[in-house]
């Protein structure tokens, strides 16, 4: 079918088109490379960055902070979400507090985290975890609460215990929701790690972006941004791929496979 392959052709074409427009704009209007370097220059700068060993240690640091922060958020988010989803009075009691913490701009906590956890990667791990925690927790609660009444009836008729109902029904029902929370969470964890690096420390791609800017090397800064984008995409799609293995039964997985 046409629809099946159209996106395979159209999406790369669109990307090529955007790069061409970018190049044309920079060339025609003679834009200063301090404002916006052309795609060719950015590509060259990226290759230069990738030829330097220290770039890889910066990438490694950012990946470490993001992944460890994200995994902490996943574990704590599912545990908290599971408990709050099951114990309604506790959720009602804590809800104002949760909403308050959720609305608070977590980035504002960075100075505090630096005081508590130092300029090293730990403060970034904590920020990434705190920022990614909320969507995972709230989605876990939602997933547990949204068990169909018919499914609850089945477990009730089978005289299942609270733990059995949690293990075999509520948690399973919550999995697609948790994965959606994780997709949001991995993006937020990446942002958390990078913003943390912007504001304090001497390691990671976020620090590199600030350092290149301070050196007025805008082209390299774009190269760093390009690397950050690639990194974000890899992490995001890793989580998206997880869906196929964790919920092979889900309709969204099946329709993605069939189309």
């Amino acid at each position: 079918m046409l629809g099946k392959y159209a996106s395979w052709i159209a999406t790369p074409l669109l990307l090529v088109l955007l790069v061409l427009i970018w190049e044309a704009y920079v060339t025609i209007f003679d834009v200063s490379p301090f404002i916006l370097p052309g795609p060719g220059a950015v590509w060259d700068a990226t290759l230069v960055l990738l030829s330097e060993p220290k770039t890889y240690s910066h990438i490694g640091i950012t990946v470490y902070e993001t992944v460890v922060g994200f995994l902490l958020a996943v574990v704590i988010g599912i545990v908290f979400g599971g408990v709050l989803g099951k114990i309604r009075w506790l959720e009602r009691t804590l809800n104002p507090l949760i909403v308050g913490l959720q609305v608070m701009p977590k980035v504002a906590l960075i100075p505090l985290f630096i005081v508590w956890f130092g300029f090293g990667p730990t403060s970034k791990v904590v920020l990434a975890a705190v920022i990614a925690f909320f969507p995972i927790m709230t989605n876990t609660i939602l997933g547990i609460k949204s068990v169909e009444s018919g499914h609850r009836d089945v477990m009730l008729a089978l005289n299942a215990s609270r733990w059995q109902t949690f293990r075999d029904v509520e948690l399973q029902n919550a999995l697609p929701f948790i994965l959606t929370g994780m997709e949001v969470g991995i993006v937020l964890a990446t942002i958390g790690a990078i913003v943390g690096e912007y504001l304090g420390g001497s390691q990671g791609l976020g620090y590199m972006a600030v350092a290149t800017l301070n050196a007025f090397d805008v082209t390299s800064m774009f190269g760093v941004i390009f690397l950050l984008t690639i990194l974000g995409l890899i992490l995001y799609f890793a989580v998206v791929m997880l869906r196929r293995y964790v919920t092979p039964w889900h309709e969204a997985v099946a329709s993605a496979r069939d189309s």
Partner: protein, 276 residues
């Protein structure tokens, strides 16, 4: 006069010496904002061992409520339910011994989408701590019983509505319950599938020898399946008449065009129409 006058419809229920299910003065009230609603009242009935009882009635007669009370999904606000001599409730606690005798099939198959068909069927055994090999063997055996062999490893969404309902019946049968409770189990199926499922259910019931209580609003289905039909009248739901269906087993689809079948149908239809 037509011959349907000969159909025995008794308003009273006789006590059985050793009933599978005994309902005594069962009553259900709902509290709404400004008043109590009486949904079901004065239900006193003995259901015999191995009997196929059908609860028939118009919508709002409380037949589903009554089934949910027998299934232990709802504690009645009055009266008592005994399963094979054991009270279903002691104060506000459900009795495990009584619950273990029950298998329930709902209008929707309510299979868990994250379990394969065999895992769904084996779930009640898993909850009782039966080992994996043993419960999956039982699930495969039941797939054969309900006619869905070959679909053990499929996901529920890959099956048709009729096949999903077959799997739901298999799940309810997995623990070899003495009682199978069915709430309009074929209501969501098309007419042809429904006829086939009625035949299958009769066969399964005859094979397992369990007691069945089935809720329906289809008179035809009621007469086809039942040993006795309990007709409930609406608002509040109460027992109207009990009709013994004396048609030989196993009944075939063609029995539906016989005069005796149509007599039962007509008698129940007239009684139902008198409620309106």
């Amino acid at each position: 006069m037509t011959s349907h006058d000969s159909v025995a419809q008794t308003p009273v229920t006789r006590a059985l010496p050793d009933p599978m299910i005994r309902l005594t003065d069962v009553e259900q009230r709902y509290k709404t904002r400004d008043h109590d609603v009486l949904a079901l009242t004065d239900v006193t009935l003995d259901i015999g061992k191995g009997e196929f009882l059908v609860l028939l009635g118009p919508s709002g007669c409380g037949k589903t409520t009554l089934l949910r009370i027998i299934a232990g999904l709802l504690q009645s606000t009055g009266g008592e339910v005994k399963i094979d001599g054991t009270p279903l409730w002691t104060k506000n606690t459900r009795n495990d011994t009584a619950m273990q005798e029950l298998g329930v099939v709902f209008q929707e198959a309510n299979l868990f989408p994250w379990m394969t068909i065999e895992q769904n069927i084996a779930l009640p055994l898993k909850l009782r701590g039966v080992g994996k090999a043993e419960r999956l063997a039982r699930a495969r055996e039941l797939c054969a019983t309900v006619g869905i062999s070959g679909f053990e490893k499929r996901w529920p969404r890959q099956l048709s509505g009729g096949m999903r309902q077959r799997a739901a019946i298999a799940r309810a049968l997995s623990t070899r319950p003495k009682i199978l409770l069915m709430d309009e189990p074929f209501g969501a199926l098309d007419a042809m599938t429904r006829d086939a499922m009625n035949l299958e259910l009769q066969r399964i019931w005859m094979e397992t020898g369990c007691t069945v209580v089935l809720v329906t609003h289809s008179i035809r289905e009621a007469v086809f399946l039942a040993d006795r039909v309990l007709l409930l009248s609406p608002r509040p739901g109460r027992m109207d008449t009990l009709t013994e269906i004396e048609i030989d087993r196993p009944r075939t689809t063609y029995v539906q065009s016989s005069p005796e079948f149509q007599n039962y149908e007509l008698a129940l239809r007239q009684r139902l129409d008198s409620f309106a």
